[in-house]
Symmetry: C2
DNA sequence: AGTGTCTCCGCTCATTTGATCGGAACTGCT
DNA sequence: AGCAGTTCCGATCAAATGAGCGGAGACACT
């Protein structure tokens, strides 16, 4: 028996009354005949000594602890981390989509303008959306090559707009054309011009994150051979909407800047809320890159990625 | 997945920041763009829903939770409950004595007058005492019959006084005599009168609790046969110093009132701090009785007794 | 639409709490 | 004993928090 059990004893007694019985510190102090400062200090030591244990138990499938660490490490506004074992990207698309849907349902407010790129996670989100705030929805980039129909970005924009009861501004056109003259004509096309003119007013943009590991990215694999070579020479790790990102998070110029039908890098930067969704360890390099560059304000990912990212000591 | 994980999610996020990262509610509110009231309500629900778990871990061998419940159930000022398995009284005497010693060392203040009765727990306490506040010590009752030397109350008073560096007022005399005339003479005896005259000024009294189950109580077994019969007719369950207590906690008159060399029941009542020590299930009836009658302000006991007592639903 | 109920929100005002400070008491050292 | 270093304590003032209230919006029912 320690010679003075009563110091810690009193600490645990005070802590019990304060935390478990909701008595005020002053009240406890009066009853115990000590000053309220002493009570406060006892509680402090109880906390420090581990006499008081406070534990936050997640009751959903979200890991809020990882989320919080991730959020702090990369200066995000919000991080949502789906808890669970390491799974391949494919298996994560649907739950992440659900999460994106839920997040949008709870955070968008009437009258905002939502920008959407494309991707499987967004497609899953679109399916899961039920009721959205009354927002208008604009397509942030034309259709990339080799996209199957279920991911048709135009369809996606309509789905969101319908759920929101707002207007849809789809972009009927390819993400890029190789002929500079043709780009000019397309951009002048009224429906396309209408959509693209709204890019500066987007309140929130939702995009998947594209990995540039060979054979993974839609965008990478859809690029013309010479573009891709050029991009890989710059060590591009990720694409976010139409912006290519190197391992340090810097934007790498690409032909899309001139011949794309899409949000420009500058426009992307200016969007107040940039929501990026993507999970699975295959994407961890891409996600790290976009986080480093500060391209993200809200990240929606899974625990495997989050664990990897917070396990790295660096902070930005 | 619940349709709205984000309500609880936000609750756990807010709770994490509040409890684990010590951010203020206002701070959290600002960062999240919600009102501080909403933060407070989220934390409230997190508490209510069990998202936040707060646990007080005792680091000593004291069970503060039982102590607190006991304290509340019987309106005690302080309860100390030694944690551990059910043990017989004998095995508890030494640890309880240590506890009494520690308690006195931490709570007595210079200049007070400490009253002591006798008993094995007090003897153990006396052995464990090392440094006490500078108090004077007065013996609250004469020596009962059949007490072995180690429990000699006079010796006890001296030990305490020596540890305290204060004066000792022992009572050289028996706890009672059967001849009323002799009592008068003894009470007039200067050293005895000196001690007894201080009974009204006692700040804190430490007593063991005596059980009146046959063959257990020192006091009971030491009583003359006719006194004991009379007491048992009144269903006496306990003695506390020289006062006999029935199962409801009422004081039962006894010859000690007239022929005892000891604190009277009225004097006992007036002592501000009445510290009662005793443990072991054999004593539970006695302890219950003295608690019921409000004879105790500080109870020092063991977990088996505490469990039993708080397990009974009644409150007084 | 009208209406009663209900929940949720943020305001005001009083209370509770924290940050910071200087002084008292204690300790170890000369 | 005398003295620096340390710890502990409680006061003050500002900040954080809680209790309670009324209004706005959602919902169900007429």
């Amino acid at each position: 028996m320690p010679k003075r059990p009563l110091q810690k004893l009193q600490a645990s007694l005070v802590a019990r009354r304060y935390y478990l019985e909701n008595q005020t510190k002053s009240e406890i102090a009066d009853k115990l005949g000590i000053s309220r400062f002493k009570v406060a200090r006892l509680i402090e030591t109880a906390l420090k000594e581990g006499i008081v244990h406070i534990e936050i138990r997640d009751q959903s499938d979200l890991n809020t602890e990882l989320a919080e660490r991730l959020r702090e490490a990369y200066g995000l506004n919000v991080a949502l981390v789906l808890d669970g074992p390491d799974l391949p990207s494919n298996a994560l698309i649907e739950p992440l989509g659900l999460l994106v849907a839920d997040f949008l349902e709870e955070t968008l407010t009437d009258g905002q303008l939502l920008g959407l790129s494309w991707g499987r996670t967004l497609a899953a989100a679109a399916k899961a959306i039920s009721k959205l705030a009354k927002v208008d929805v604009v397509q942030a980039a034309g259709s990339p090559a080799r996209l199957d129909l279920s991911q048709n970005p135009t369809e996606l924009v309509h789905r969101f707009a319908r759920a929101a009861g707002g207007l849809a501004y789809p972009l009927f056109g390819p993400m890029w054309v190789e002929d500079p003259e043709l780009v000019g004509k397309l951009r002048a096309e009224p429906s396309i011009a209408d959509a693209m003119s709204r890019y500066d007013k987007i309140d929130a943009l939702v995009v998947g994150v594209g990995s540039w590991r060979p054979q993974e990215s839609c965008l990478c694999s859809g690029f013309p051979e010479d573009w891709r070579r050029e991009a890989l020479k710059h060590n591009v790790q990720a694409d976010i909407c139409a912006t290519l990102i190197d391992p340090d998070g810097q934007a790498v110029g690409s032909p899309l800047d001139s011949v794309g039908l899409c949000l420009s890098t500058e426009q992307l930067r200016r969007i107040p809320e940039r929501i990026v969704a993507g999970g699975g360890l295959e994407k961890v390099d891409a996600i790290r890159a976009v986080l480093k560059g500060g391209w993200v304000t809200t990240l929606i990912t899974d625990a495997s990625v989050a664990r990897r990212l917070v396990g790295e000591v660096v902070r930005y």
